[in-house]
Amino acid sequence: MTHLLRRRFPGRLLALTLLGTLISIPFFWMISISFKPRAEAESPDVLPVVATAQNYPIVLDARPDPATNRYLGMRYGRWYYNTFFIALGVTLLQVLTSSMAAYAFSRIQWRGRDQVFMLYLATMMIPGVVTMIPNFQIMVWLGFVNTYHGLIIPAAFSTFGTFLLRQFMLSIPPSLDEAAQIDGASHWHIFWEIILPLARPGLIALAILTFIGSYQSFFWPLVMLNSEDLFPISIGLLTLDSSYGTQTEMIMAAATMAVAPLIIVFVIFQKFLVKGLQMGGVKG
């Protein structure tokens, strides 16, 4: 493939390389600064002159900050736990609800199905900030403010997820459902034993996207949480900035650690993500 690309579209390859480099610059910049000592932190050098890993133990609260001789008091362990707990909960529930909705929208015939689906899809057009306040109000009524469920439940339902999986399920031949029906399967059996296993690439793709999305979510947790015990990493990082002024190298070390799990997840599952999103190629 790479050979082909190189031979046939040298211009395209160049453009992609350039774009890739451009996108990567801030990322490498972040990593580079995280290894710089305080004295170099604000310098424009691309690489640290004296590389040091000391920022990491400081951020992790294993060592005091040499500048102030005080511990930063960051609770990385707790934040990781919160982030993973919330992201995994959201992912699990969202994949489950989306796949059930997708099944209803793709495998069951009911009057007005496609109209309802279009209406449901139309909700994707509404920007999140518009529903932020009403959603928050609902959370207040439910007593979900400053709880895990306040972060997990509203994110457990997704129009995009339903859409993605519906398209996926539409590519599975309907004769499989009919064969299963004759074999004696109920809708639950068909969903659970036939459609879900066949929609696996789609489920994995949605799970990865949801996990990443939830991991990165910032504004909703910011609105919903005030107890530091519940903070995910995205909010936790804020404390660094506000309590100790701007210590760029510390922030960068903290940020690098924050994105590291995501990158690992992405590298491991990247293959599934690509496969899952190439829905056209799915055969039943």
Partner: protein
């Protein structure tokens, strides 16, 4: 085992499209019935209605003594083999076959023994742990049949099961399904658009067109006595030749005045029926093997027609020769050793005793009832 009865069955789709109109058929226990017709004739719809995958608009469907109109597919005691096999791709052959039994909570040993038995019948013993992806088309179809037979249902439904196979495989599977029917003796309803499958497999054939039954008969009777022009043209390859003709009285007898000024005597058995058509047009139907074939040529006093050779298709043992007579093309099935030249005008014997006559308006068969 059970008989299947369809009474006044109608299917109209929302939007008013009529797929099946007033369908009546009684299928006795153990019979192999083939529904055949061109695409869109309603044959698959009918099968799906028997399966319960499609609701019926009117009428009754009975399996055994039970009216099954509102019975869900799983409780109809039927099994169906689909055109695209519909095997569960994520399950092995064994799991595919066992799925229905598992859902019906059969004991494990019983499932295993039934799967084994079916696998033996179909020669799938070595493939039980494979996934459908790793099987050839013919093997997949066999698994689909296996999935049906493990359940030991009252009725088997086949929806064009051989359409996705290559010609050689199709011939082989045709024989296998026929053998299976003899072996297990269950009632089978088989849908196809291929008249050769219908002829070779069916004990009875139902020819359909535009949702309406054209004829229900045994293969041989259907071939020999097609009820109308459509059936006559549909059953048999190459198809029956049709000529616009006119019945004339001549010397106290009747003759058929055909294309190219040909005059053929009306066979004695048909005289009574054709007497009312004197000086009226009819459609004369002659099968390719009844013009210029060895059998026709050997007849004493066979009437003859003169036609021009246009194309010759050698098939090995025989040749299909395309002729033209007075602007009407027709095909004759002749022995391969009889040589014709393209452009030659040949004189061909006609087996007039086997001629078919159809009314040009109704396209129905004209015949003397007592003759048969």
């Amino acid at each position: 085992m059970a008989n299947v009865t369809l009474k006044n069955v109608d299917k109209t789709y929302p939007g008013g499209v009529k797929a099946v109109a007033d369908f009546n058929l009684e299928i006795p226990n153990g019979e192999f019935v083939v529904l055949v017709g061109p695409s869109g004739c309603g044959k698959s719809t009918l099968l799906r209605m028997v399966a319960g995958l499609e609701e019926i608009t009117a009428g009754t469907i009975r399996i055994g003594e039970r009216v099954v109109n509102d019975v869900p597919p799983k409780d109809r005691d039927i099994a169906m083999v689909f055109q695209n096999y519909a095997l569960y791709p994520h399950m092995t052959v064994r799991e595919n076959m066992a799925f229905g039994l598992k859902l019906r909570k059969f004991p494990k040993q019983e499932i295993e023994s039934r799967v084994r038995e079916a696998a033996d019948i179909l020669g799938l013993g070595d493939l039980l742990d494979r996934r459908p992806k790793a099987l050839s088309g013919g093997q997949r179809q066999r698994v689909a049949v296996g999935r049906a037979i493990v359940r030991k249902p009252e009725v088997f439904l086949f929806d064009e099961p051989l359409s996705n196979l290559d010609a050689k495989m199709r011939t082989q599977m045709r024989v296998e399904i026929s053998r299976l029917h003899q072996q297990i003796g269950a009632t089978m309803i088989y849908v196809t658009h291929d008249q050769i499958e219908a002829m070779t497999m069916g004990e009875r054939i139902v020819v359909m067109k535009d949702g309406v039954v054209q004829q229900v008969d045994s293969p041989v009777r259907m071939y020999d006595r097609p009820a109308n022009r459509f059936v006559a043209g549909f059953i048999g390859t190459p198809q029956m030749n049709f000529f616009n003709a006119r019945i004339r009285a001549e010397g106290g007898s009747l003759v058929v005045e055909g294309p190219g000024d040909s005059r053929l005597p009306v066979p004695e058995t048909q005289r009574a029926a054709l007497a009312t058509y004197r000086d009226k047009p009819v459609i004369l139907g002659l099968r390719p093997e009844d013009i210029g074939s060895a059998a026709a040529e050997q007849l004493a006093n066979a009437p003859r027609i003169r036609a021009k050779v246009e194309i010759i298709e050698p098939m090995g043992a025989e040749s299909y020769v395309h002729f033209n007579i007075g602007g009407t093309p027709f095909i004759s099935r002749v022995d391969a050793h009889v040589t014709f030249q393209i452009g030659q005008v040949a004189e061909l014997a006609v087996f007039i005793g086997k001629a078919h006559f159809f009314d040009p308006q109704t396209e129905c068969r004209i015949e003397t009832v007592s003759a048969h």
